[in-house]
Symmetry: C3
Subunit: 400 residues, 3 copies
């Protein structure tokens, strides 16, 4: 059991690192005048998420809190050595991924404190509500699925519980916020807004890729349960995603580096039950689907989802939830124990809660506090407007 | 026991990574003309620290050396599989943090080789002297504390042994070195010297935050001793620190990213005995105290501690040592076994040794070799003066 | 056994991270107009390597494939929990290091798809051919060495199998490709081509250094086999390498950061059998040798090996293979079990296969597809030529 504390500490540290990955993916993709804001928003979202999940969210999902003295918390000198504490840490890094995902969609024009308020509501209530339904059997939802469709909803590491949730929560936020100034002209033309820094974007992607093996493998919860299949499937889906996005995205660096992530999003749900070749296919579809979805949402639907988090986390997450029901079947070399219908219904339930939750939470915040920067602040950039400093202060001052 | 080698390897690798974090925190905070020097100084300080600790320091602290043949070192095929070797590695990464911490205070005007000389003296003698007193019971100091104040000095992961020591050693170094040219005018005005690169600063902070979970959790020494409480308390103190610094620092990116570190510095000592809510409070005080201390030292005391390592590692470390004596008590939900007086005396002893040690070592080096760059070299920047190359050579040459 | 899956997952994640290190080492060293291409090439090389090793290479080296259904793959609910799958992942990260190493030599003028073709051939055939000879006893080569020279070839973590192979494979590639335009004038003068970004170079080196402890320690394969000696020796060789390169390279940031890597390359082979002081010496020779070799190859031989991968991986790898036969002997405090001649012959065999393999593979690709960018594309830069975007698109467009 002591190895389990070690095991989850490594997992939690790796997923904590992913938050740095989210930050740099965003820093690289936004314009230079919004880099500082991206960094500060991601780290403070993590901070507020921790507080919200510690005081409320964890109890919502699992009915556990930590308000007794250390002696009674049974964390010292007992057989588990504080396992449930590090388990909290591990699950918090997942919960905190929700605002980190959304952040990439709403960046460059969102207000700081209203966003923090939305973060608290999401991590204290909306996310743990669905998390508890799926991972803790709350409300009898899983039992109902099993009775109705022959299996409960299988989402091993959160294609839907985390990524689908985050990606589709972003939909309401992005729509309510509106597009960045100049993104779409009155005549309906789409204007490119160029990213500031491809190396930072790539750095963010690499950090996310590496940390993801903690996200997926440590989702087993115990060292005893650690599975080589999960590691291998994550690898193959990542690779499938990046190769597909390379080709579909015509060698674009943003697509290839995000394509790897799309593959990883898609494999979370079924990583413990699909065949490695199935994982490769899941990743390929995830990566290609991301490129197509990104272009469709930005150019046809004209939704200004800056980093493409709706297709990346939402779209690939949705696909991952359903794909576990296809490639997890023994007929396709998988381990079985899942049904297509349970996966489909479970996935759509998550998407529906996310879409509704996003419009409710951001609608509430918009109505009460306002969520969008003033036109002047957006033009000046969130860095100077909110943080009173730019990303390269020495150089930027010299240029004035 | 074999799991312990794995356990400490991960811990050592994570704290090794923190040195990259120190490097980038400094690169981002200094002016562009000193970025290369920051990078080279941090990695070579690590190199010289390793040699000093291997040949001298480790024996000073623990009375162990490694000068026998491998067969007699009992590292192959024995029950521990070379545990004491990886334990050396883990402790070395702590010892090497001393010059890495100081580096941030003395940067932008310190000479290269005299600094290396100070590094060797600190890691071979000063640090292991105090380390051995506290962590190896040397000189009967801990026994005396226990007899006098009812408990030995509890510093689980080094709030005082590592951070307080590093931060207060920097005091002598920074004072003896003097402020950077132009930092304070003759009339006593404080002039802002702007940081070069906020994303690099943030990257450094993130690397440090993630690595810190190796610093704290692996301080248990064995996988068996790994404690979920330590992981959770580190998380909550980090979050408390960053939120407090965000607010006290008015959304400044430097404060929020360093505030997380202040919380982590402060929790090291008591992370295994305080209640998670105590950890949150310790972090909040650490983060807010850092912002206040930073401004006081820079603007009132006019000490040019560039990265603020005196308030960050010194101040928050001092607070952490004492706080373990407050929040560790069973009355505040802690695990007990500590007394306020033992924590206070132990902490102040460390601070006193550090302040004295800093003035002695840097005074000695100053008297014999000189520690400050010439005025022309400082003006030109340490990069061109010492390393004959700038941070962006291609672009910088094109601009000439 | 379950701990082994955890153990190798961490090792594989750490070596996966090294690929980000390779990417940033290259990004920092090339000119700005080729940064995006370096990033995309490294991540897609990793992708193609995975596919090649999964479908062909792993079977070439170990005779194992994964084409049975999950139930028969015996990875779920069996005693090993899918150990061989995570073992594949770990070994893949080594195999994929081959193109990542070569990439630094051929960068700034290589064509994209022909390079991908070479990657596939190398990882599917050439690398696993030699890997299997040494690490799986294929073709009776090790048995023959043992019969002839008193010991098999000892290459614990791949000084020769991975690094020597990669470095000497690069020779053929670099020679067949030719130097970058302007690197050597007609009159034979050597013209410096300045690196773009030292902080990125340093970041790459740090990521590689940290990941290397996974590369070396986890090469034990099982948590039971994890050795503190390997960790300590890796540390000391890294430090020896960086200090020697600092001095030999006159404080140059490129040399010191690559010197640490040279020490690590050199210690791979003997890290489990040499004395720590032997490891320090191995690192010193590796680091100094890298600086000398780099200058000799670039300035005397006029081979335009951009990052110096031939001296770094090839030279230090060759030295590491032989050094294990010297410092591994009990006479020098080592653990014995090796002979100088077996190490020499094994090393030279690897070098010969690599040199031949490099000329064959890149010769084949050159003859069929061409490997070099057109003159205009090279002048414009691979970023715009291949990826249609530059590293800092927002800023670069504003400058037009």
């Amino acid at each position: 059991m002591n190895t389990d504390v070690f095991f989850l500490t490594m997992g939690a540290a790796m997923v904590l690192a992913m938050h740095a990955g989210f930050a740099f993916l965003e820093v690289g993709t936004v314009r230079k005048k919004n880099q500082v804001n991206a960094l500060v928003r991601v780290i403070t979202d993590f901070g507020f998420s921790t507080v919200a999940y510690f005081f409320v969210g964890f109890a919502v999902a699992y009915g556990i809190n930590f308000f007794a003295p250390v002696a009674e918390l049974n964390v010292l000198g007992d057989a588990t050595n504080g396992y449930k504490m590090v388990h909290f840490f591990f699950l918090l890094t997942f919960a905190a991924a929700i605002p980190a995902i959304i952040s990439g969609g709403i960046t460059e024009r969102v207000k700081f404190w209203p966003n923090a308020m939305a973060t608290v509501l999401l991590v204290a209530i909306i996310y743990p509500f669905f998390e508890g339904m799926i991972w803790n059997g709350n409300f009898g939802y899983q039992a109902w699925l099993e009775a109705s469709f022959g299996a409960s909803f299988h989402d091993f590491a959160g294609s839907v519980v985390v990524h689908g949730m985050g990606g589709f929560l972003a939909l309401g936020a992005v729509v309510l916020l509106g597009a960045r100034k100049g993104r779409y002209t009155r005549s309906g033309r789409v204007q490119a807004i160029l990213p500031s820094n491809i190396p930072f974007l790539a750095l963010g992607s690499w950090i996310l890729c590496v940390g993801w093996f903690g996200f997926n493998v440590m989702s087993a919860g115990t060292a005893e349960g650690a599975s080589g299949l999960v590691a291998m499937n994550s690898l193959l889906a990542m690779v499938g995603g990046l190769i597909a996005a390379l080709i579909a995205g015509k060698n674009d660096p943003g697509f290839v580096h995000n394509g790897a992530l799309a593959g990883l999003v898609a494999i979370c749900a079924g990583s413990d039950i699909v065949h490695p070749i199935g994982a490769l296919v899941i990743g390929i579809v995830g990566g290609a689907g991301f490129v197509i979805g990104f272009q469709f949402i930005q150019n046809k639907l004209k939704i200004d989802d800056v980093l493409g988090v709706i297709p990346l986390h939402g779209g690939a997450g949705l696909w991952g939830g359903i794909a576990a029901g296809i490639f997890g079947s023994t007929a396709l070399g998988g381990a079985g124990g899942v049904t297509f219908m349970a996966q489909l219904v479970g996935t759509l339930t998550g998407v529906a809660i996310a879409v509704a939750g996003g419009f409710i939470v951001y609608g509430l915040v918009k109505a009460t506090m306002g969520i969008r920067l003033s036109e002047e602040d957006e033009y000046m950039g969130a860095d100077l407007a909110i943080h009173n400093i730019s990303a390269n202060p020495e150089q930027d001052m010299a240029n004035h």
